[in-house]
Symmetry: C2
């Protein structure tokens, strides 16, 4: 039975068109731009944003990646087509950030494999609510478990599993209020060995560079005086400081 | 002769007071604060700024570390005293940045040894104009060779030697003008394997967060469109954005 099943799978595979199989729902691709967040802040990178999310954070700054109707507006692209588009736009850049939504919803193994074969460095952004085995193939990943103000709840066991799979993980917690700050301290206590960034919360349509820097100032003061956060980063979203709350940067 | 010389050195060492030997000229110690620059941006760290510099960059933002008369105003501290002061102020922080001036002017081997023995992570900031052997003991170091607008000239052979000694080096070039930008491209071409950050120039007493962000915007656009800079970071001095051009942050 197992042999027959395998033969069927092989036959099926042989007749698939490599340009149509495993298409991924692409919301947007852009770059080169600067990575705006976390430990990789400032790095020149291309972005691929995939549709769909298992969360629905109230303050999500990329709701266009997952709100009702958005999946229908995404473009289904095969991995080879994504790589071709990246290389047409990238100039000398060979770094790509896979984001969402939650890109871990999709099977990105074929895309990552093709990117790596062509010399790309792959970075992923996800909340760590899913732990697919192919996380082990990504060069680095930022896991941003969502604090109370998001309205979401964290499955700590799955997050631990995802972090353990990834070869070069870091953590990022967005902080809007006191409860979020306490959550960040909790995250650091649970995973003290994983680099942690506290990121100032950003209200799309309300915040300006000035209000973000003012809030960054307060968050920095708070974290600098807190001995529970011995080893931590505090950062703004740099792309918002430079370009404002615009899409596609 | 060599044995006699060694015996003399040993005798000399045995009679030294460990609290007075190898004192280092400390201009200021502060923290915990946030690292404002380069690949380590945002990290919570203590700072030790040592007096003296073999350069005299026209736009140096820490001239109080090396201008005439400043050495006399520094405090000579033994390594053990520096470590004690750090630990009294650090809270849970165990990361320290050794800066200047050019801290590579001094023999920092005893200080680094004591810091490491007590669980500190050491990071150094230097222009790479000197390559003392103890660079190999530092956990990480940012080398910032100075571009034409500084008025200084780079000894590329010494810089290469310093980079090779350090176990985890990165490069940072401050960009004020077109010549500086061309210099940064040259640096990347010479050391393509070392992570490079382009940092927006900052005129102390003139620049504000707004003018720095405007210049960051232009520098980012320039670097993003330049295929010679395939893998690069572009960053501001974050501490200046948060706290302005103040001393001791």
């Amino acid at each position: 039975m197992r042999d027959a099943s395998k033969a069927m799978r092989d036959a099926s595979r042989a007749t698939r068109d490599p340009l149509t199989e495993r298409r991924l729902p692409v919301i947007e691709m852009f770059g080169p731009t600067l990575q705006g967040e976390g430990r990789v802040i400032g790095l020149k990178t291309m972005f691929v944003r995939l549709a769909g999310c298992d969360y629905a954070c109230v303050w999500c700054d990329t709701k266009y990646a997952w709100e009702p109707g958005q999946l229908a507006r995404s473009e289904p692209l095969a991995p080879a087509a994504i790589v071709a588009r990246l290389e047409a736009a990238a100039g000398g850049c060979r770094r790509v950030t896979l984001s969402g939504g939650n890109p871990a919803l999709h099977d990105l193994a074929p895309l990552v494999e093709q990117l790596k074969a062509r010399g790309w460095r792959t970075h992923m952004e996800t909340q760590g609510s899913l732990a697919p085995a192919w996380l082990a193939e990504i060069d680095s990943a930022t896991f941003s478990p969502k604090p109370p103000s998001s309205g979401m709840r964290t499955d700590w066991a799955v997050l631990a599993q995802a972090l353990a799979l990834c070869r070069d993980p870091d953590l990022k917690v967005v902080v809007f209020d006191e409860d979020d700050y306490a959550y960040a301290v909790d995250v650091h206590g649970r995973f003290p060995e994983v680099p942690l960034t506290l990121q100032v919360g950003n209200r799309v349509g309300e915040d300006t560079a000035a209000t973000l820097l003012e809030r960054l100032n307060r968050l920095a003061d708070r974290a600098l005086g807190d001995s529970r956060l011995g080893d931590v980063r505090v950062l703004p979203q740099m792309h918002v400081l430079i370009w404002g709350n615009r899409r596609g940067v």
